[in-house]
């Protein structure tokens, strides 16, 4: 068991096209660090200066992590993390 991280289309070039990758960790930060080891460059598109990028939404089991600890949001085996770039513009 591990945490499944769903990757948006625009970031699949970091995962060889995979729609989802798996990682281990007790927090979102640890999971991202774990998957970064096998998908170099991915974390930098999600995290900036030790915080989530402003225009990237991350959900753990349907909950927006901005309301559950950000990168410190707890994760457990079987959890699903969804990364969705914000649809935004001017």
């Amino acid at each position: 068991m591990s945490v499944e991280v769903r990757i948006p289309t625009i970031l699949r070039t970091f995962t060889s096209g995979a729609k989802a990758v798996h990682g281990n960790g007790a927090t979102l930060q640890q999971v991202l660090d774990d998957i970064e080891a096998r998908n170099p460059g991915l974390k930098d598109r999600i995290v900036e200066s030790e915080a989530l990028r402003r225009f990237v939404n991350v959900y753990v089991n349907d909950e927006d992590v901005r309301f559950s600890g950000g990168l410190n949001a707890p994760t457990a085996d079987g959890d699903v993390v969804v990364v969705l770039p914000a649809v935004a513009g001017g």
Binding site: I10, T13, D62, R66, V87, G89, G90
Partner: protein
């Protein structure tokens, strides 16, 4: 024959955010071109060629959907309206229009509400759909992607439709509707083929 080219862009300070990922260091060196039934050719390099090989240089869209986007833009004027048309994954055919809340409620900016965007993501996943069109309005400028639009564009498979209500506001009158591809920070306008 008309040719629409997608050019690689280099880093620059004005369109950093997502265009950074077109950095040559990891960009696949792939080129692909497709020609549709009308003889329009799209040449793609790198990211576009990998993830959107079926791009054609035209948005085919039902008249009712065009009219629904215009109606939404007029209702929300002077704030920007935004939404999507979704369709079966890989089809490039928009079948369903979904109005989205502009969480910023701003005349100069839009952002999908994160909870509503997640609900859309789940609904599309369950139905085997994806975003075919991302639309939003400009309420005081022309229907051309702003620097912010280009920098934040993160749906490379989508057509980006701009509706400008600058000329008529909330009333009947001239509106401009134009469609673009925005991939790797490069914008290319495409034709809109309105179907009855």
């Amino acid at each position: 024959m008309r040719t629409f080219g997608y050019q690689m862009t280099t880093r620059n300070s004005k369109s950093r955010r997502w265009s950074e990922i077109c950095d040559d260091r990891w960009m696949p060196k792939i080129e692909r071109s497709t020609t549709d039934e009308r003889g329009l050719t799209v040449r793609m390099r790198g990211l576009a060629a990998v993830i959107a090989p079926s791009l054609t240089a035209v948005l085919k869209i039902a008249r009712e959907h065009v009219e629904a986007m215009i109606a939404h833009a007029r209702e929300d004027h002077p704030d920007e309206a935004c939404g999507v048309l979704v369709g079966p994954e890989g089809s490039d055919v928009p079948t369903r229009l979904v109005r989205m809340i502009n969480a910023d409620r701003s005349p100069t900016f839009f952002r999908f509400d994160p909870q509503e965007q997640f609900a859309l993501y789940k609904a599309m996943g369950a139905a085997g759909e994806e975003i075919v069109v991302v639309y939003h309005s400009h309420t005081s400028t022309e229907a051309y992607p702003s620097r912010t639009d280009i920098a934040l564009a993160s749906e490379p498979q989508a057509h980006y439709v701009l509706v400008s209500t600058a000329g008529s506001g909330t009333s009947d009158g001239p509106v401009s509707v134009r469609s673009y591809r925005i991939v790797d920070g490069a914008v290319s306008e495409e034709e809109i083929d309105v179907t009855e």
